[in-house]
């Protein structure tokens, strides 16, 4: 008997316990955002009810408590990704903000006209558009790693794509659109041969199990709290300390300075140098509570549970006539995401019909229009699973797809 019980876990998530359109909610839009356990909600509330004060400013008791909780949360999240030092973890608004920080600070100072930035067509827009903006400003060139018919990176092309002009390689750990798990270490090794800096978009990577940034070997790792049981509006950038120290601030303001003179100022130490203004204190504390919660779960069993859900979902969906599933065929190569289309039923119509059955899936381009173009579709429907989903819910999904078939034939 496994000690990990998704049904017991569900009780910790109040949102899951409700009826939608007269049916028990089946929440399968976890790649967009996860639901929040009670402990995270309590942490947010607890901060506002008892400890609310600004951080790193006051001498008074509440400020001391708020600062302590805020920095403790940093240490917890840093431990979740096995950062060598909590000071390597910069709080951001989320993954997008973290990537923009690197583009706006490191990128502006280190990428010059004629330099190349290597991306992949698998990227979320948040790991494309900041580099497009940067490339346009400095005159750099964007290059792309293509994907094969199963949505896996064409890594055989890396040797020809990586040259001494490549200053940065940026790619996702796990694709949000297809679930492809990318071999981060292999790509890092290839990038390092040409001396490129590597940024990993970890928005879908750190969410199911701990990540070891030291082992991955990249230079930056960006991720969000809300996809891993934490609140929205808080995320983090992990960066190698020497890189972070070499970088100019991203935004100026309070909190990020040391001494301010009329013409120039000196900066606070890393990571505060990058945290101008009053931060999302409650969000950071909530993010800390989220990793506390996840850390209580047996990582191996969570991974096995999600793989089993994936296998079962792929099996049940494959039975549906007209079904086309995108992404890697092997469950080993994909995270808990199934992107699909079904005959001439448009993904929006699929999603509306599933919603009427109480089932939440995402329909659209998933902020990955390059992926959609690669497969010649404008949109897909996407079911994504998390720790609290069950086999019964996949049966509900498969049954509801029969309703879609009833309408669209």
């Amino acid at each position: 008997m496994s000690s990990f019980d998704p049904v017991a876990i569900r009780r910790e998530f109040p949102t899951l316990d409700q009826q939608v359109n007269g049916k028990p909610l089946v929440y399968l839009d976890n790649a967009a955002t996860s639901q929040k356990p009670r402990s995270v909600l309590d942490a947010l509330n607890g901060y506002y009810l008892h400890d609310n004060a600004n951080v790193h400013r006051g001498i008074h008791e509440l400020s001391r408590r708020a600062t302590e909780a805020y920095e403790e949360a940093r240490a917890k999240v840093a431990r979740w990704i096995n950062a060598a030092d909590p000071h390597e973890l910069v709080w951001t608004r989320g993954t997008t903000d973290a990537i923009n920080l690197v583009a706006g600070s490191w990128g502006m100072d280190n990428i010059k006209a004629g330099d190349e930035i290597l991306l992949t067509v698998l990227e979320h827009h948040s790991n494309l558009v900041p580099w497009q903006l940067l490339a346009r400003r400095v005159g750099a060139k964007l290059r792309y790693v293509e994907i094969d018919d199963q949505g896996r990176l064409e890594l055989g092309d890396l040797p020809s794509l990586l040259t001494e002009r490549t200053k940065l390689v940026a790619f996702n750990h796990v694709s949000n659109a297809l679930g492809t798990i990318n071999p981060v270490k292999d790509i890092v090794a290839a990038a390092k041969k040409v001396g490129a800096v590597v940024l990993v978009d970890g928005a879908q990577g750190a969410v199911h199990m701990p990540v070891d940034v030291q082992d991955l070997g990249a230079d930056f790792y960006a991720f969000s709290g809300h996809k891993m049981c934490g609140p929205t509006g808080i995320g983090a950038l992990w960066g190698r300390r020497e890189l972070l120290e070499s970088m100019e601030p991203y935004q100026g303001g309070g909190e990020m300075i040391e001494f301010v003179e009329r013409d120039m100022s000196t900066w606070a130490e890393v990571p505060h140098k990058f945290e101008a203004g009053t931060p999302n204190i409650a969000g950071a504390i909530g993010f800390g509570a989220a990793v506390d919660f996840l850390a209580t779960l047996p990582a191996e069993e969570v991974a096995a549970h999600e793989r089993a859900l994936m296998s079962y979902a792929m099996e049940r969906l494959a039975e549906v006539p007209g079904m086309r599933i995108y992404g890697p065929e092997s469950v080993e190569d994909r995270s808990a995401v199934v992107s699909f289309t079904m005959g001439d039923a448009h993904p929006h119509d699929i999603s509306t019909i599933l919603d009427s059955e109480g089932i939440a899936v995402r329909a659209g381009h998933h902020c990955a229009q390059l992926v959609m173009k690669r497969f010649g579709v404008s949109a897909t429907a996407r079911a994504s699973f998390y720790i609290y989903n069950t086999r019964d819910e996949i049966d509900r999904l498969a049954d509801a797809l029969e309703v879609v078939r009833g309408i669209f034939g």
Binding site: G22, H346, T352, M372, S378, A379
Partner: protein, 150 residues
Amino acid sequence: METPQLSSLYQQLILEHYRSPRNKGDLPDKTVEIHMRNPSCGDEIRLQLRIEDGRIAEAKFVGSGCSISQAAVSMMTGLIKGRALDEADALAERFKEMMHGDEAAAKDRSMGDLRALAGVSKFPVRVKCALLGFDALQEALKQTAGGEEH
């Protein structure tokens, strides 16, 4: 909130227009073309009109997207052909009223097949799908009017 019925959304007439759209294809002698996209979902149409003597002489479209967006533009092109520009604009306004839940508009015979889309008003997130064609129409009317002023 009352649970909206799927059957009120996916009427046979809508599915029929979706599967066999009317007036689909390019219009070589168009006088105005509007490309309208719904970035959040990828619905897309190119509405092509030939406007002569203040009337819509011909209307065609090319596009792709969900059943609601494509059926609505298929129905719309059938109804606006031969209409004066202000009549076409009035139809667009009437359709918007129907999308906001106006029951009188939903029974208005001048709306033709479009009445089958009345149920969309119960699915607020899908209203923008239904409006895509009419947004293109109103933009085309605006551009045509602007062109005449010069």
